[in-house]
Structure formats: structure tokens, C-alpha cells
Amino acid sequence: MSTTKMHAIQGVNAALHQAMAEDEKVLVLGEDIADPEGGGITGAAQGLSTKFGDRVRSTPISEQAIVGAAIGAAMAGYKPVAEIMLMNFTTVAMDMIFNHAAKLRFMSGGQTSVPIVIRTLTGAGWQTAGQHADHLEGWFAHAAGIKVVAPSSPADYKGLMLSCIQDPDPCIFIESAGTMFIPSEVDDDQGPIPLGKARIVQEGTDVTLVTWSSQCIRAQMALEGFAEAGVSVELIDLRTISPWDRETVLASAQKTGRVLIAHEAVRDFGPGAEIAATINEELFGKLKAPVRRLGAPKCPVPFAKALEDAYIVQPADMIAAVKGLMS
């Protein structure tokens, strides 16, 4: 099988090209998204408008109008993929996402549906400071009626995007800075990867490390450190945050008896809490150590490089936490 080495965003681009070619109902919209404007902030949509014309539209800076247009078109049979340039800007479209996209199927008793994908970029590491880097997957995971997907590898970017587009319900697809730098081989015929299924990146027996998105990349950077410390870590990339793959996580936790959860989002009231609470509930008395969580401190993302580095959970923090679980 032939493969191509690509970056995360190229995975998205490949998925969009494939989906638009296969299904003429797929639309793409967002700020700067058409080719004359560069195919979006990361170029994820490059080539689409040239190939698919009017099905790809650059928009004004009007996130409510963008998501609203996507919702309406979706209700009329289209499958729009809307880019909200950065995740912090979902806050100006939150009514459309939370009160409408996510609820219309239920509120209409199943008469209407909103098969949209909202692609959005985020993540610390680029010194973009307080308003451009928050990981808000916890908010969306708390909301009913929307799926939350946060890939880490180029292949997953492609395969999960294909699934999001095919999905009959709204999905938010998080593209994080920390996942953008390491290219890897992707099967040329990489197809959809099912939503709600985690990926075991490395098997292990001592500690289960649950991560996703940028922290799965950082966890991979810590793998050597785990080995050096003599700890066998089972690394899980959750891939879909909501609905999350309880079975895979619980099976691993049952096997290892020790769990660390690491995400880029703020730790307090963050998505890791749900996973920790569930593991504790389901495996009460069967764990060898308390479930630990690593996440950002409860402050806005800082600008200064030194502060930004301290803000992000680093591979070293994971190594220390894993050692802590063993002692």
C-alpha cells in the first residue's frame, strides 16, 4: 500500500478534497478559506475552491453568520465544513453551536438534523497569548448533541475528518498547534476512522496514560523517559472526547491499575475530570493508585515564552507523574 508523508493539516486537506469529490453536498466555508484568500489560516482548504468552485466560500468576519449558514444549509441536505479560525472565536458563535446546531435534532423531535463540521485551530506554543490558544473541548463535551474530535496524528486528522463529514450530526474538530510539527506516513487510501474509538499508541502494563491532541504528541516525546524510568506505559490517544471510548480506557485501567490523564486544557473542571471520575466509579477498589490528572493551571495562556512553557504540561511533567504513580 502506498503512503505519503504529511503533516496534520495536509491530512485535513486530503480529507476535504476526498469528501468534496465523493459527495457534491459537501461545502466548505470560513474566513479566507477560498484559494484567492489562501485556503484558510493554515491552508487546510488549499485547492478546494479552484476545484469545486462556489461550493467553497470565503466569508466575512462573522462567526455567527458562518455557523448559521452552515446550520441552515445542513438542514437543507448539505454537509458544510465551517472553519472557525481559532477556538477562542467559537465564543462569538456559541449560541449557534450550543443552542442550535447541537439541539435542533432533539428539539424538532428528529425532524431536522445538522450534519456540520466545525474545524477550529488552537493550542499554546506560538506565543499568541491569552485569546488565541485555549483548549475548550471540555465545554463542548459537556454539551449534548455535538461530537468532539481532537486528533493527534496526520492519519487521524484525515480519517477522523472523513468520519466527521459523514456523520449525521454536528462535530467539532480541534486542530492543535502541538500536533502540527511532526509529519508521518499516511496511507494514500486512508479512509474514515470511526468516531468514539480510542487508539492505543503503545501497549504497556504499569500505567495507563490517557491523552489526546497535542498532549498525545508530548506523551510520545516522553516515551523514552518512561522506559528509562522502567515503567511500562500504555499510551491511549482518545481521539474522540465526546462520546469517549470508555471501554478501551476502562479495560486498560483495569489491566494496569494506574492511570494518568494529560490534556492541554485547564485541569480544573476540565475534561480529564470526567474520565477520572468514571474510572474511579467503575474500578473502585481495583486501582493501585489514585487516578492523576495533568492539565494547564487555572490562568489564561501567557505570552512570555518561559511562562508559556510553564503553562503547558511538558513531557517531563508526565514522566514525573508516572514515576509518582509507581511509588
Binding site: L27, D54, R55, R57, T59, P60, S62, E63, Q64, A65, V67, G68, A69, A70, I71, G72, A73, A74, M75, A76, G77, Y78, P80, V92, D95, M96, N99, H100, L104, R105, F106, M107, S108, G109, G110, Q111, T112, S113, A144, G145, K147, P168, D169
Partner: protein, 331 residues
């Protein structure tokens, strides 16, 4: 804004059709009010008594293919669009035979078969979604149009602005219909809006905008006809500000103390229903007997719908797991 004499004029059939829709709205509203007052329905009810001309005239021009997005004060828009009353009543009663299986209720009534696509409780949100439906119409190469209903108060929220700009820019087949009933909950139009006519905002979006007497079916007819022609011809959106009044206040139970003395009484002098009825008779468009028969038929339809709705069953708790996603959630 008064129209030139070559403006579209309604014929007898059109006038009677508009009147029929008005009566259907009013008789249905009356039945809802009395059912709530008897304690047989529990729901927050936002009557649109007094505003009938607007959706009645708009709907006269619409087919089932055409779509509307409306608001909590939107039952008149659905009734005007000839949405069947039985599932409407079952829905407001919260029953399984409701359009939304009782899950949505009056504030989220939906009925795609007659083009009722969205009813929203969030001020301003009907407009961005209407754009999307209109975008689909445009992409389909279809002639269908979309109506976005919204209130005067909604013209001050961000979603209005973003939606108007996008519609103007993309020349979407959408008509923004604003019944300006002079109040947003308890706040008067003047206290919330920095301009005397909402239609003046249209210029900022490159679209035509008009302020109309929303209680005058003739003026409404002319403007709606033009706006819909424009939209169907691919020439883009129009903003119609239709002046009117809500006779029942914001929500059932509203004491309307916030209104200046006499304002309501004065507005009621301009009740469009009796006036239009008289006009139809005076100008020979219909006879007393015809209008009486029409009203009776409608009353029967409403009564049957009410009975149907109230007799329908209460949904089971399993419904909480259905329609969240296409795939049912596990228990």
C-alpha cells in the same frame, strides 16, 4: 413608505386568502388562550394577536417548498403557512403526536413538510440560519425563498447584523420580515433602538429596506410581492419592517404596566381583523355568509386539532435518549 400606483395589487382571491390566514391565526390563538386559561395547557405563551396581517400576507406568496425560520412568538407564522393544526396542538400540549414528539414545545415547533424549519427562543438567531437555508436554495438552483421572522428588539443584536451583511453580500433568496410591535418584552422600541426606522439599516447591507404599515394588507401585499419576486429572481434579500402592535403584551399574564396610558387602547382601534373584514365586505370581495362559513370551518379545524392534541399520549422518558444524535443513546 407608500408605493407607486404600479405596485402589485391583490385581487379578490388573494384578499380572501389573506383574510382566511388571518382568521386561522386569530381563531387558533383564541383557542390557545382559552385552553391555557382553563388550566388545560401549561406553556409560556407569546400571543401575536394584532399582528395577523404580516404572516398572512407573507404566507400568501409561499409554497410548501418555501421555508420559514421564526421565533417564540411564531405560532401565527406557522398557522399562516398552513401548517397542520393537529400536530401543532399535540406539540404545545407536550404529547407524542406533536410535530416534535413533545420535546420542543411551542418555542421550538418545527414542521419541515410545510417549510417550518426553525422556531427559536434566542433573540436574533432565526436570521443566520435562514441564510443557510437560502444558501442551499441558491446552490440547488431552486426558486424557493426563505423568510426570517424576527422582532424589532432583535434588530439590536449581533446576529441580525452578521446575517444581514452575509445575505446582502451573497445575494441570498431570503426576506427579513420584522413585525415591529414597538416593544421588546417591556422595553419600548425607542428605548432600545438608536434609529427611528429599522429599515434604515438596510442601506448598510446593500439591500432594499422598507417600513410598512404591517396592519394594512394592501401595503403589505405590494412589498411582499416585490421582495419575493426579487428573491426568486436571484436578486437578493429585502428587509421589511412591518409596523404593528402586540395586543396581549409580551407573554400571557403580562400586565402591560410599562405602557403609557392609552397606548394599548389606541393600538386596538387599529385592530386589523375587523377592519379588513369590513373592507372585504364593503368592496364586494366576499359576503357575510362566505366569511361566516370560512370562520366556522376554521373553528372546526381548530377544535378538532385541540381535541386531537389533548388526547395524544404523554411521551415516555426513553425519548430523552432519542434524537440527541441520529443513533439512539444507550440507557
Amino acid at each position: 413608505m407608500s408605493e407607486a400606483s404600479n405596485a402589485p395589487q391583490p385581487d379578490t382571491k388573494a384578499l380572501v386568502d389573506i383574510y382566511r390566514r388571518m382568521v386561522r391565526i386569530e381563531r387558533n390563538d383564541d383557542a390557545i388562550l382559552s385552553t391555557i386559561r382553563k388550566g388545560r395547557l401549561q406553556m409560556p405563551y407569546y400571543s401575536a394577536r394584532g399582528q395577523e396581517v404580516i404572516p398572512a400576507t407573507v404566507s400568501h406568496f409561499l409554497t410548501d417548498e418555501d421555508q420559514i425560520c421564526t421565533i417564540y412568538r411564531g405560532i401565527q407564522d406557522m398557522v399562516a403557512k398552513d401548517m397542520p393544526l393537529k400536530p401543532l396542538w399535540a406539540e404545545i400540549a407536550g404529547r407524542v403526536d406533536g410535530t416534535c414528539k413533545g420535546k420542543g414545545g411551542p418555542m421550538h415547533l418545527t414542521h419541515p413538510e410545510t417549510g417550518v424549519m426553525v422556531t427559536t427562543g434566542i433573540v436574533g438567531s432565526s436570521m443566520p440560519i435562514a441564510n443557510g437555508l437560502a444558501w442551499a436554495a441558491q446552490l440547488d438552483g431552486s426558486k424557493r425563498v426563505v423568510i426570517a421572522y424576527f422582532g424589532d428588539g432583535a434588530s439590536n443584536i449581533g446576529a441580525f447584523h452578521e446575517a444581514m451583511n452575509l445575505a446582502g453580500l451573497w445575494k441570498l433568496p431570503v426576506i427579513f420580515v420584522c413585525p415591529n410591535n414597538r416593544y421588546a418584552e417591556h422595553t419600548s422600541f425607542e428605548k432600545g433602538t438608536a434609529v427611528d426606522k429599522i429599515s434604515k439599516r438596510a442601506v448598510g447591507y446593500g439591500m432594499p429596506g422598507f417600513t410598512i404599515d404591517g396592519n394594512d394588507p394592501f401595503e403589505m401585499y405590494a412589498h411582499v410581492a416585490t421582495a419575493i419576486d426579487r428573491a426568486r429572481a436571484g436578486e437578493g434579500p429585502t428587509l421589511l419592517e412591518c409596523n404593528t402592535f402586540r395586543f396581549m403584551g409580551h407573554v400571557l399574564g403580562d400586565d402591560m404596566k410599562y405602557m403609557p396610558e392609552g397606548e394599548l387602547a389606541k393600538a386596538k382601534e387599529n385592530d386589523p381583523l375587523p377592519a379588513f373584514r369590513q373592507k372585504l365586505l364593503d368592496d364586494g370581495h366576499a359576503t357575510e355568509a362566505q366569511l361566516e362559513e370560512m370562520t366556522q370551518q376554521i373553528e372546526q379545524e381548530v377544535a378538532a386539532a385541540r381535541e386531537f392534541g389533548m388526547a395524544s399520549e404523554v411521551p415516555s422518558a426513553d425519548e430523552l435518549r432519542r434524537d440527541v444524535f441520529e443513533q439512539e443513546m444507550s440507557a
